[in-house]
Amino acid sequence: MTVQGEAKAAGPRAGRQPSPGAPGPERSARTSLARTRNRAAWLFASPALLVILLVTVFPVIYSVVLSFARVSIDYDGFQVEEYTLSNYGALLQSQDWYRALGFTILYTVVTVTIELVLGMLSALVLERLGVTRGWMLALLLIPWSLVTIVSAQLWKYIYDSTYGIATWGIALVTDDPPVILGEPVSAAAALMVADIWKTTPFVAIILLAGLVMIPDEQYEAAELDGSSAWSTFWRVVMPQLLPTFTIAVLFRVLQAFGVFDLPFVLTQGGPGTSTQTLAIMGYKVLFQDINIGPGAAIATSTALIVGLGCLLFLRAFRNQAKGGE
């Protein structure tokens, strides 16, 4: 991404070509200047690019390489014994992997959907707030600004089966203290609640940024035309908000699909393997079982699936956005 960005930044100047009929010496001077500028741009960008290369590109490539490798570890370090497709074969034959994939998709769809609805409602309210908007924004940002491991630990206390306030509250109503993190359905719901609590403000702020860009005149015009609030929202606000909306969805899908910290603290993927996400499974296979090839295959396939999902989503939304124009 950044490489392209840098190229674009350098592009207009570097790509400025002399007109075909320009005299020789001037043309040569301009080309030389363009080259110098081009070179300088790449030179200045190269330290940052090198860092990105080392911390992002290399690990990604290496992970893909390992996903095709049978790796053994001995006293002299890592050894790749052979390159094979068997890691992916093992994945496709593993019920745990399908279960983790299913749970990850469910988790992503449910949390992102609810966060978008709540985030949109919050953004609409925030947009109408006057002087208190700044304060409300600051308050809203508290959950988002907490480190997830810390907030997950707080939720763990809330859900605790012996002392948790949620357990106590439910027991007041049902007279039977639940074991929230000990049952598959309630454990999954508990994870989703913690995620939604933390991330809704993020969605709200992105959508708010989109909302304030919509000119007031358009609302006034809609009002003059006798449009109801409901109809204004769907016909005026949503079409213009679609690009911002798409960004919010993409960010959230990417994050939710790779969720690790919440289930790691709250359930470790349990009870059983019912809340095991692909990231938790990859961690267990790679680090607990030291099964490097299959672990890398889980990581690579997860990236591939979420990448494809996002591409499909972008395509669908681009068409829809065009249709709305």
Binding site: R39, Y62, G270, G272, Q288, I290
Partner: protein, 443 residues
């Protein structure tokens, strides 16, 4: 030289490729472990010791005391204590990639007795046979020696063993005129009666979360019923045997009959101890330190009101069972200070440290002679007396795939205890998953 985008990207890809190949390539050969120096010199040296807390008999931290005593014998070796996660799985996971990648630190690892199989298979621990005399190992009990070794090669210096015990509320038994239960059936009966009095919320609590502790509990209940989870060679699962089913069925009945709260299926050691020390539970299954902590007024509201006995068996049997828990020292094969690392790891397993553990520790020393020494008699710990009569039941750790085998046990045992799986289907699934794991085919 012209630096354009294409050139830079090509170069970058090349560099990444070279780096990837370099990562795959074997490293230069190092000093052979057999050639390691074993004598510590006078040069000051600092080694990193990766260790979670080791409890004192008052619930404190024994690690600084051990370091202090060691430095009297080895003043030139400075021990830098690196605090490790208390949870055994998190602890191991944090370590494995670090050592597998060739890190020189930590030099010495205080690790679980369940690790030798996996550590040997992946070269994460130093084989010790050539570094210490053969008769060194004679000072430990047979069960511990076999747990510390794989195919006749030792990988761990034993530091302490741990047994599980039944801790109970003596005051409540006295108040309501009950005897200390002599069997599981009596634990159930007494628990129900005590819950009915309203003095406790829970009867019996144990560690039922989806983790290694559940495997320990499941192994014990199955042993109580006369069974094992694998054959003797640890090559095949026997989880569908009638004994295994009976043990797990009893565990599930504890929950379904309300003797054990469902919350217990989310407990790890500390959570179960909390339920007991705050007075909510009448009986607790936990490791040796739990009795000391529950009896310490600083940490417990039931201090001075409790008793301890072996985990009971079922009606009609006198034999009592505990899994072998415990921790020992592993030496990082990549250590830059082999002599100092070896000296520290060995010292922890030898007489001086073991006697210190007897005098001040909240755990059971690994050395047989220390357990019966005058210091041990003077300490007058009930755990030591009970330990002498226990039948030790090993977990099926003697396989390189133990973490996956254990996962097959604890995931399904949790599911059976929670009533989510019937015993028949749960044990069938357990057997299938264990067999796949034992064959090295589990993902």
């Amino acid at each position: 030289m012209q630096i354009d985008r294409r050139g830079l990207l090509t170069g970058a890809a090349g560099l990444a490729g070279v780096a990837a190949l370099a990562g795959c390539a074997p490293r230069a050969e190092r000093t052979k472990i057999g050639d390691w120096p074993t004598e510590v010199g006078d040069e000051p040296v600092t080694i990193d010791w990766w260790s979670a807390n080791i409890a004192t008999n008052e619930g404190g931290d024994l690690r600084p005391r051990l370091i202090e005593e060691f430095n009297k014998a080895y003043p030139s070796v400075r021990i830098n204590l690196v605090a490790a996660p208390a949870d055994t799985d998190t602890n191991r996971t944090t370590l494995t990639t670090q050592i597998a990648a060739g890190s020189q630190s930590p030099d010495v690892i205080h690790g679980d007795i369940a690790w030798p199989g996996q550590f040997a298979e992946n070269s994460l621990a130093t084989p010790l046979s050539t570094l210490v005399p053969d008769d060194f190992w004679d000072q430990y009990p047979e069960g511990l020696r076999s747990a510390a070794s794989v195919d006749g090669e030792y990988y761990m210096f034993p530091v302490y063993i741990d047994n599980s015990f039944l801790v109970y509320r003596q005051d409540l038994l006295d108040k309501h005129g009950f005897q200390v239960p002599g069997s599981w059936e009596e634990v159930v009966e007494t628990s129900k009666a005590l819950i009915d009095t309203g003095d406790v919320d829970y009867g019996f609590v144990f560690q039922g979360n989806v983790y290694e502790g559940m495997t320990c509990n499941a192994v014990e209940f199955v042993a109580d019923a006369g069974g094992r989870f694998t054959d003797d060679d640890v090559t095949e699962s026997t989880a569908t045997s009638s004994e295994a089913r009976r043990g797990l069925e009893f565990m599930a009945s504890l929950v379904s009959e309300g003797v054990t709260p469902r919350a217990s299926l989310t407990y790890i050691e500390q959570a179960s101890l909390d339920a007991f020390t705050t007075g909510r539970a009448a009986f607790l299954r936990n490791w040796s330190y739990a009795y000391d902590t529950a009896n310490s007024p600083d940490a417990s509201s039931v201090a001075g009101k409790i008793g301890i006995r072996s985990r009971p068996g079922f009606d009609g049997t006198d034999e009592t069972h505990t899994t072998i828990g415990g921790w020992g020292s592993y030496v990082n094969p990549h250590t830059a200070h082999p002599a100092a690392a070896l000296a520290w790891a060995r010292w922890l397993a030898d007489e001086d440290a073991q006697q210190l553990i007897v005098r001040e520790g909240g755990v059971i020393p690994a050395r047989t002679a220390s357990l019966t020494s005058p210091d041990a008699k003077a300490a007058a710990k009930p755990q030591y007396e009970i330990a002498a009569d226990y039948t030790l039941v090993p977990r099926p750790t003697a396989t390189a795939f133990y973490p996956k085998v254990s996962q097959g046990i604890y995931v399904n045992a949790n599911s059976i205890a929670a009533g989510q799986s019937a015993v028949e289907t749960g044990t069938s699934r357990m057997q299938r998953q264990m067999d796949v794991a034992l064959a090295g085919q589990a993902l």
